[in-house]
Amino acid sequence: MLALEGIRVLDFGQYLAGPFGPMVLADLGADVIKVEPAKGDNMRPAAAPFFGCQRGKRSLALDVRSDEGRVIAHELVATADVVHHNMTKGTAPKLGLDYETLRAIKPDLVYCNTWAYGKEGPLSDFGGLDPLYQATSGLEYESGPVAEGNAPLYYRFGMCDASNALLSVVGVLLALYHRRRTGEGMDVWASLLNGGSVFTADTLLVDGEPAPRPRLDAAQTGFGAGYRLYETQDGWIQIAAVTEEQWSGLLTTVRRAELADDPRFATPADRERNRRDLEALLEPAFRTRTALQWSWVLDEADVPNEVAIDTVGGQQVLFDEDNVRLGLVTEYQHPVKGLLRQFGQLIDLSDTPGKVQGPPPLCGQHTREILAELGHDDADVDRLAAADVVYAAGDDYTERFSV
């Protein structure tokens, strides 16, 4: 049995922060139906982020704004356990897809909206993109870092989208747990704004004043002489000399043992205060050998270290023997793009495993199959397709869609 076997999720989301959550649920074994407009999810033209959020789902291309489309959506909701989407405020009620309407159809429904800002409040009407929340959370300021005179820095991973989606997954799972115990459904939400602030949760005010926290240097190497990247003869090495033993091991290894007795660098607080002087002494030492040579001698001295590797856009990680063997990587045939390789299973469950269920679906790839499950015969589907209420992927696919 798969972990979430028998759980049906309807994913009415588009872009990233909506669809990524249902993809994670699909990887855990849920039956996820992506309900997208007949013209396709707006993210389809940007194939890379689209592929990262859509695998393992079936696609029903349905115009939920049409009367007939709404009826079909409601038929589907009657069979579902979870409805998930990232529509902006007011959209779901207009489409008849709000919680109150849908719980009348399916009383124990778990309903989840991933918002940009939040459910109620001054900016709750607004949508928004990931970078706004890298701004609000302090990520861009601290990553510059602006305090050192640099410009703010945007992280290209789009993590606030992911964080919002992942929070929604935790919420949905806990609501499903509650439903299994009580029979009751509920309404769940998360937001990009909240998701961003999870990443700077180590920040706090004490009596209204900011508590000191690790600070990045202007050269973006790290948090201090013992926890940073150093440039070597041929590349960079990350050091994590966290304990006093590791620190003295580091000094001995780089032949700067005399610094251990230097009162400027005696304690972690001293080393933080005189960080620039200390780093100016260590940096030239690291340039005298290769990263690999440093790694070997630091290993012998029990000083935690790793060479910072360039994976060539992830290729080395996605083709790494260990990662492949352990299922951290997946690869399958995509009907348009041929082989598609991306990250695989991220949680291993020993008794009820998850499963990467297949490639991202084509738009409307499963329209006929899903409508047949609802009792619509082929003639009915043809009629709905002719009326543009649904789209079923066919011979015209590549004229309409890039992926």
Binding site: A48, G121, Y154, S163, R180, L204, V206, D207, D322, I347
Partner: protein, 393 residues
């Protein structure tokens, strides 16, 4: 105590942010969490952030390397639904507390492991500090910064991914347990945490361009979204973003008092020299404006825009406050603190912060007595150094 996890007991043996914050997401939805840490304390307590990620739980200080400490821990296990640990693979086995050793006796136990690298990986025995996983996973090299080479990620990305995998893995196992009656071993790692954030960048296909050479490409200066960061007056910054889902009343250029160029795609299609002139005019117009007034004007015109603030300034955001994400916590060591609240909401059964981060061993005696030890047995453990109770020497 309230929340959907009421009645679920979690033993939290984790050190560091990934495990502790994963547990936090569950603790504040009603789980009863006991942090089991060494008598010397979880070594990550030195970080101020641990006051946030360790809150909403009780602390029992036990030396699991001692027979007495392990025996007491076994008593706690008898009532536990979930055990979470973040040691290197093999450490719990050597203590006789590995999954295999416990599963037969405790078939309903959900046992979650979150080391730096997965068991069976050649890196599994290497130290798993966050920045090391950043380096070894290639993520530092993926992030463009202000110089060539890898960029240290100020946001501890491996841990910030793994925290979700811990919470999702445990929640999934609890859902499954309702159907099967059985617990199981849930395994993830910081390395897997990093992979979560490759969704938009690491997609490799046989035919056509994708991934690292398209929309989210690594580039200098970095990326499409970096170009919408602007400096305002007084050295303050904003991130302007053109869409917020509502129909704009005025465009960014109109707000800045500049000729309207049109949408992003029109702009991108212009000759480089013309683009450069427009960019310079925009930068100058932003520099002339007060940051907060500008953000307000963008919002009034249905355009996305946010101030780029210091991390500790996030708590002033009015919507973050409206979301209940700004909390006041009376911390026994720090005093009155402002911290993040609960980042997701279950409307049908809302959770709550259940208290500040405990001091080392603050609940050793009451928790062990609850588990059936008598005061004399607890005294013996304390005397032998196998346990420590805060306030008792």
């Amino acid at each position: 105590m309230s929340g959907v996890l009421e009645g679920i007991r979690i033993l939290d043996l984790t050190w560091g942010s990934a495990g502790s914050m994963g547990v936090l997401l569950l603790a504040e939805q009603g789980a009863d969490v006991v942090k089991v840490e060494p008598p010397t304390g979880d070594p990550f307590r030195a970080y101020v952030g641990s006051h946030v990620w360790n809150r909403s739980r009780r602390s029992v200080a036990l030396d699991l390397k001692s027979d007495g400490g392990r025996k007491a821990f076994r008593r706690l296990l008898a009532d536990a639904d979930v055990l979470v640990e973040s040691f290197r693979p093999g450490v719990m086995d050597r203590l006789g507390l590995g999954y295999e050793a416990l599963a037969e006796e405790l078939p309903r136990l959900v046992y979650c492991s979150c080391p730096g690298y997965p068991q069976g990986h050649r890196l599994a025995d290497r130290p798993g500090y966050d920045a090391l996983v950043q380096a070894a996973s290639g993520q530092q090299w993926e992030q463009p910064g202000w110089r060539p080479g890898p960029t240290f990620l100020a946001m501890p990305m491996p841990s910030m991914g793994a925290l979700f995998l811990v919470a999702i893995g445990i929640a999934t196992a609890l859902v499954a347990r309702e159907a099967t009656g059985r617990g199981q071993h849930v395994r993830t790692s910081l390395l897997q945490g990093t992979l979560l954030y490759t969704t938009q960048i690491w997609q490799h296909v046989q035919h056509g361009a994708l991934a690292h050479n398209t929309l989210m490409a690594k580039s200098y200066p970095p990326g499409i979204h970096q170009s919408s960061i602007f400096e305002c007056a007084n050295g303050e910054w904003v991130h302007a973003s053109t869409m917020n889902g509502l129909p704009p009343k005025r465009s960014q250029d109109e707000i800045l008092g500049l000729p309207d160029v049109g949408d992003l795609w029109t702009f991108m299609a212009l000759p480089p020299e013309e683009k450069r002139k427009i960019e310079e005019a925009r930068a100058a117009a932003f520099r002339a404006r007060d940051r907060d007034e500008l953000v307000e004007e963008f919002h009034e015109n249905n355009l996305g825009c946010e101030a780029i603030v210091r991390a500790d300034q996030q708590f002033a955001h009015p919507q973050l406050r409206a979301n209940g994400m700004v909390a006041t916590v009376d911390d026994p060591e720090l005093g009155e603190t402002t911290q993040i609240g609960l980042p997701f909401t279950l409307e049908g059964a809302p959770g709550a912060i259940q208290g500040p981060a405990p001091r080392v061993g603050e609940h050793t005696r009451p928790v062990l007595v609850e588990a059936g030890l008598d005061d004399r047995e607890v005294d013996a453990l304390l005397a032998a150094g196998a346990a420590r109770a805060f306030g008792e020497t």
